[in-house]
Every structure is written in structure tokens, then in C-alpha cells.
Amino acid sequence: MSLGANEAMTVRTDASRSVVTLSRRKRTRYAWAYLFVLPQVVFFAAFTIYPIAMSYVYSFYEWSGIGPLEDSVGWSNFSELLRDPAFWNAFRNSLIYIGATAAILLPSSLLLALVLNRAVFRGKVFYRTVYFLPVVTAASTVGIVMKFIFGNENALVNGLLLKLGLLSEPVPWLGQAGTAMGVLVLVGSWKFFGMAMVYWLAGLQSLPGEAFEAARIDGAGSAQVLRYVTLPLLRPVAAVVLLLTVVNSMHVFDLVKTLTGGGPFYATETVDLYIYNYAFNTSGFPRIGYASAAGIVFGLAIFLLTLLLGWLVQASRERGERPRRAAAARGGGRE
């Protein structure tokens, strides 16, 4: 049975009407979606895109931030910056801070997450909250409080170590280059510790239970489960925690400003503080153009570092899938 020409026409017209109706609906939905997104786009353009774009413009001017942009200096801000040992010192300090906090945070927060993840552990919620507390405390507050704790004579840390007999005389923790950076790294790590721990906990709770069950049936002990099951499965999570820790450490500013002020003698000055000191110099003319050039160079460096870490995350995900698939296959086989 075939359709007549008229019937066929009617069906086609109905179909095209429904297409038109659908596309109208779709368009309306799109319009609403764009309307809802618009405020965010406007704010993003005004407060993120515009400042970034303008910092590229400023970097080619000798400009104090006041008055018209008149004194174009070409690439001289960049060449001066790249020749400035203080910039490279700040760059090095930033890298040291990033590397050291990651080295401390990753294993220590994983260890605690493993402990807090155990079902038998009592008061888990309390401890999780306690460790998370520094994350929500303002970095500047932490800096000021820690300055009093690590300050020299009569301060808490020295007093305690002297009483315990671990020190024979007070140590100027914030008055020596090495110890000042050490304190900064420790405090910075402590501040982000709770966040890293939450990432690990989330990762631990998303691991497939079958793999652990299978390992236990195979007779594996706790250490073996950790070594051969948990850690390999956590590799993609580790890459993400590393990425987030590094990104968090890249822009350390308020903590440095309040805890060490970048001292002693630039020993803890990070790039963010270096930029701030040029943009809002209190002892002379501010140099917004030069500070913008520093921001751009550091921004590019961060971009490259983030790309590298992004690649690491991707690679570890791919690797991480293999043991997951293998574990799933083993679990499935037993069923």
C-alpha cells in the first residue's frame, strides 16, 4: 500500500511544520540560555579579559598608572625585566615555593586521607573539619598570626624548642633566608593541606570496591593493597591534586606579604609580590608598565607549566585506566 500524492504532501508539510516548531523552540531555549549567561560574560569581559588585554598594552609604555598613556617604550620594559636579577630571584623563589609545597603536601595529605578514610576511625568528621579550617581562614590572618608564632625571641616556637632542649638559643626563623623560606613553605602547605586532603578523600572513595575485594581474596595484606591497588588506581587523582596544588602555590601573595614581606632582603619575594612592589611602590613612582610586563612574562611561564601539568594529568588518566580495567576484568571474571 502506497500513499497518494496528496497524502504524501500532507505528511511532508506536517513534518516541515514540526521542524519549524522545533527550531523555534530550540531558538527560544538558546536565547534564554544566552540571556542567563550574559551577566557572567559581561563581568568576565570587564574584569578578566579587559584587564589582561590592557596589561599587554601597558607593558609597552612607561606609565605610572596616572595620567594619559604617552610614553611608548617598545620592548624596553621586557628587556629591562629579563635583565633584572631581582625578577629572576623572585621567579626562582616562586618555583621553590611551588616545588616545596607540592613535595610536602602530596604525600602528607594522602597519608592523612588514607587514615581518615578508614571506616573504623572514630571522629572522622571532626578531624576532617579541623584539617580543613586553615583553608577557609584568610591567608593574611594566617600570615600575621604565624609571624608572631615564629618571631624570634620569646615567640611560641622558639620558647617551646628551648624548653624541650632542642635549641640552645633562639633561632631567627624569619630573619634568615633559608629558614624564612622554610617557614613560608610550611605555613603555605599547612594552609592548603585540608583542600588537598579532600581531593584525596574524594579520589579514594571513587575507587572500585571490587578491586580491593579481589585483592583481599587473593590474600593481599594492607601494605600490598596500598602498594599494588590503591596507589596505582590513585594515579590520575594524584595528577589532579598536583595540578591544583601547583596552581594554588603559583599565586602566593597575601601570605608572603604578611608573613615575611618578601624578606629578608628579597629571600622570599615571589613574582606576585615583585609585581605588586612595582605597581604600588610606596617609596617612589609606581611603574604599572613595567609591572605589567612582569605579569605577562610570569603569566606565560604559568601557562606553559599548566600545559605541562595538564598533559601529565591526561597521561596519568590513560595509564590509570589500565589497572582500573584490569581490576574490573578480574572482578568480573570471578563473578
Binding site: S64, I66, G67, V125, T129, E153, Q176
Partner: protein, 507 residues
């Protein structure tokens, strides 16, 4: 995971609310302070003697030591002029340049605002941001001030007044404050207060016997501008040709931070540190933390500016102290160069909508604020007569003022010789090296700077290079100025450099 996240987020939200509760209130107050300068009030065209419509004018200050005297003046002013409210927001002095910078960029300067090194008067005027004050500071008024107050590039431009002094122009010099109680505990009297470095070491050993946590000297090394100042002043007792104000050798026309004066003064501090005569906290604290520890009896001496006496009395509620001249290498006198400049001034925004009210306030300021400040023992008045007639019952303040007056000696200034030097200063400001002597002192005491003379020589070279480039640039723009305008071969340090000396050079 969801339970954990919820629990953590709820706790975090509660804690963050608790922690940020106070700060949001403060932000609100500051914001109101910034906005009222241009937006508040409805009586733009009213004169103070005419309509009584309420008007708010805003005043930004950067001198914490003046706060009480300003508040008192404002309270009295508002009683006398009930329709005028003066908004006086609390501004952290270290953040003042950034705040001023932001206000200029957003065209929201307050009606009255303190000056700042970050934006020199010459630039403010070129940008059309400050009001001419000739009708406030009439010739008759101007004569009441100290000679040299109305100096080109500081308070005046092309002969017109654009800035009102806030303190006496002879400020601030540095001095040694001593804690009488600590001295007494060490069996010492005010006669034992050291005049030389050697005296300080000798006395210091006795003070160390008082207790393991009591030191002879405490300094706030983190306050680099103050350290730069007193090192420079101590250095004048060794090489007086280099003025302490900016490390400039007025004979040669070159910066000379690596002069024996600077090097030996910094080395002396290091020696005190090595001998454990300098409080170990000095390296990690600022000047106000140092003065608090001094008031708490943790040190017998502290070096600070003239303004410390009011700080100790008002904020630390401490009065058992005395003031003495700065100890120097051989006990020789030190000095500070008075170059006719007034470094602490207030400007009026050109865009103020309430100029008549501002004028009233400025006149009130001159008649009452200077006196209030004197009575509170903060600083001397820029008006000569007020210093003579105001009864001040504050021995330490008077002692400090006496030392300060003697320390200031009229010295040559390139601005007076050639007005184009004002433009050079504006050019120079952005080109100066980032470091200063105070930071190098910190580095030397922390052990990071090993070649002190080399580091100071590098600083001098950076400054001299910047000066040369700035002079060349201004010269290329058509102004007649050269490096010789910065050299004063007929100057003898410690002798007042008077106008006839400038005339002698011009021949």
C-alpha cells in the same frame, strides 16, 4: 563523598562568616569614605556663610601620629560649623600611595588629601588635579610660616601655592630614646646615655646583665625608610658632604651611598648584632613593634623619629623615657639637611564641589590643628608664633623638638638653584633603583649581603645613572639644566647655606 563535602562546606561557610564578619564592616566604612569626596552633599554652589544646607567634605591623611589631633580639630570644627561634616576615613599609611593612585585613576579624589612621594606636586598640577590655594594662603598668612616653607616644587609651583604644610618643615630628624626604668635596673642614670658608638657598647654590656631578654638597643629593621634615615644621619658625623635626606653628595653632585659614613654606620649595627647588643627581634619587626618592646622594658634604647614621643605616650601609655641626640662614631654631631622643603603637606582636589567649605576648614586647620598637635606632643607647628606661644607641658616632646631644631641645618637644594630640577625629580622618581639603604642593611644583618660596600656602590651607580638620564631627558625637552646645577662647591657642611651663596654660584 557527598556527606564529607557537605559537612566540610557547611563548617567552612560558618567559619568564614565568623572570620570575615568584621572585615566587611570595615570595608563598608572605607568605601563610604572614598565616595563622599565627590558625590556627597547637595550644596555645591552654597557658600559657607550663605545657605546652611548640609555639606560633607572628605579628608584623607597618611600620618597616624596626627590622627588624634585631626579628630579633635574636626570635632571642634563641626561644632562651630554644624552644617559641614568632615569625613575622615581610617587609612593605613603604608597603603596610602596605592589608594591615592586608585583615586586619581578613577577620578574620585577626596576634597582634601595628604601628599605622597608616589605622585609629586608637579605631576598632580600637570594633570590638573589640585586646586590653587593662593586665596587661602594670602601673603599675610604666608609670612606667619617658617622661612623656606614656600618652596618651588614642594608647596608652590610658579609662585602659586598648591600645598598646605601639615607639620613644621624642620622634621623629622632621628634621635635616641632611652627607657629610664631599664637604665635604673642596670644601675645607670641619664648621664650614662651614650653619645658615641663606643659609649653605646660599654653601656650595652651593663644592660645585658639586667636579664637575658633585655637588650641595650632595639630597632625595627623592617621599616626600611626609617633605617635609611638614621643610617644617613649617623653617617653625616663621618662624611658630612653626603646629606642624609637622600644620600646625595652636594659637593660632587653624585649619590654616594657607599661613602665611609654609610658603610661604617651599617657595619656598626652588624657589630652590635654580633655582640648580642642588638635585640634579635630587630631583624623581623617594624618600627612600631620595636617601640612597643622598648616601652615593655625589653630594650634600653630605640632609634626613631621625633614622632615617637607621642606614639609612646598616646598608644603605649608609656612616659618613663627620655630623648637624646643620635650616638655617632666619635660622638661628633650629626645633622639633617633643611633644604627649604616641606615634605608633609595637604592638597585640595581641583574637582571639589565644596571649595568654600574646604577653605573654611583649611583656615581652621591652620588656627587649631597645628596647636592641637603641639599640645598633644606630636610635632611642631609650621607657624612660628604658635610654637612660641603655645603652652606645652610635655618634657620629652620639648626635648625632642630641641634636638630636632638643632639637627636641621639650612643646606643647598638644586630646586632653588634651577626650577627645572623639579621636572628632573618627577622624571627621576620612576627610574630610581628599587632597593634602598634600609633593605641593604636588612640583607647585611641577615647575612645575605656579604659585600656591603659593593652593594652600596651598586645602589649609588643606579641612582646616578637614573639622575643622568633624567637630566638629559629634561634638557632635551628644552629646559636649561645640567649636572653642574647639582654641585655646590661653595657649601660648607654644618654651615647654613643662605641665598647669597646661591648668588655667588650664579656669578
Amino acid at each position: 563523598m557527598n556527606k564529607i563535602a557537605f559537612g566540610l562546606l557547611s563548617s567552612a561557610a560558618a567559619i568564614s562568616l565568623l572570620l570575615t564578619g568584621c572585615s566587611s564592616e570595615q570595608t563598608g566604612s572605607t568605601a563610604s569614605g572614598t565616595s563622599s569626596g565627590t558625590a556627597s552633599g547637595t550644596a555645591a554652589a552654597d557658600t559657607a556663610s550663605g545657605s546652611k544646607a548640609p555639606v560633607t567634605i572628605t579628608y584623607w591623611s597618611r600620618w597616624p601620629e596626627s590622627r588624634q589631633a585631626i579628630e579633635q580639630t574636626i570635632a571642634d570644627f563641626e561644632k562651630d560649623y554644624p552644617n559641614i561634616h568632615v569625613d575622615f576615613p581610617d587609612i593605613v599609611s603604608s597603603q596610602y600611595p596605592a589608594q591615592l593612585q586608585a583615586a586619581i585613576s578613577s577620578n574620585s579624589l577626596p576634597d582634601i588629601f595628604a601628599n605622597s612621594n608616589a605622585v609629586p606636586i608637579d605631576q598632580l598640577n600637570r594633570l590638573g588635579l589640585i586646586h590653587n590655594l593662593d586665596d587661602v594662603l594670602t601673603d599675610e598668612r604666608k609670612q606667619q610660616f617658617y622661612d623656606g616653607t614656600w618652596t618651588e616644587g614642594y608647596t608652590t609651583l610658579d609662585g602659586s601655592v598648591y600645598a598646605l604644610p601639615h607639620f613644621t618643615p624642620r622634621r623629622y630628624s632621628h634621635m635616641l630614646y632611652y627607657n629610664k626604668d631599664v637604665l635604673a635596673k642596670a644601675g645607670l642614670t641619664e648621664n650614662d646615655v651614650p653619645k658615641s658608638w663606643e659609649d653605646l657598647e660599654k653601656v650595652g654590656e651593663k644592660i645585658r646583665q639586667v636579664g637575658s631578654d633585655v637588650y641595650p638597643l632595639i630597632l625595627g629593621i623592617k621599616t626600611d625608610w626609617l633605617v635609611t634615615g638614621y643610617i644617613g644621619q649617623m653617617a653625616t658625623a663621618i662624611k658630612p658632604e653626603v646629606v642624609p635626606n637622600d644620600g646625595f653628595n652636594l659637593k660632587t653632585g653624585q649619590y654616594e651611598f657607599d661613602s665611609p659614613g654609610y658603610v661604617e654606620s651599617v657595619e656598626f649595627l652588624k657589630k652590635l648584632q654580633d655582640e648580642k647588643l642588638l635585640h634579635p627581634n630587630s631583624l623581623v619587626i617594624d618600627y612600631r613593634e620595636a617601640s612597643s618592646l622598648f616601652a615593655a622594658g625589653k630594650a634600653a634604647f630605640v632609634i626613631d623619629g621625633t614622632f615617637l614621643s607621642s606614639e609612646l605616650q598616646q598608644n603605649n601609655k608609656f612616659n618613663d623615657f627620655g630623648v637624646a641626640p643620635l650616638p655617632t662614631k666619635d660622638g661628633k654631631p650629626s645633622y639633617y639637611a633643611f633644604q627649604g622643603e616641606t615634605k608633609a603637606t595637604v592638597h585640595v582636589s581641583k574637582n571639589t564641589k565644596h571649595y568654600e567649605e574646604v577653605k573654611l576648614f583649611l583656615n581652621y586647620y591652620m588656627d587649631h590643628f597645628y596647636v592641637n598637635q603641639l599640645k598633644l606632643g606630636v610635632e611642631g607647628s609650621p607657624i612660628v608664633e604658635q610654637n612660641k606661644t603655645t603652652q606645652v607641658d610635655n618634657p620629652q616632646f620639648l626635648q625632642a623638638q630641641d634636638i630636632q631644631d638643632k639637627a636641621f641645618i639650612l643646606s643647598p637644594h638644586p630646586y632653588t638653584r634651577n626650577k627645572a630640577a623639579v621636572q628632573v625629580n618627577t622624571e627621576l622618581n620612576g627610574k630610581k633603583p628599587k632597593e634602598n639603604v634600609g633593605q641593604i642593611v636588612e640583607g647585611y644583618l641577615a647575612g645575605q649581603v656579604t659585600d656591603l660596600k659593593g652593594q652600596l656602590a651598586q645602589l649609588s651607580a643606579g641612582y646616578n645613572q637614573a639622575l643622568k638620564e633624567s637630566i638629559d631627558k629634561v634638557s632635551r625637552s628644552g629646559a636649561k639644566i645640567s649636572a653642574t646645577d647639582y654641585q655646590f662647591p661653595n657649601w660648607t657642611p654644618f654651615e647654613p647655606y643662605t641665598s647669597d651663596k646661591y648668588a655667588e654660584l650664579a656669578k
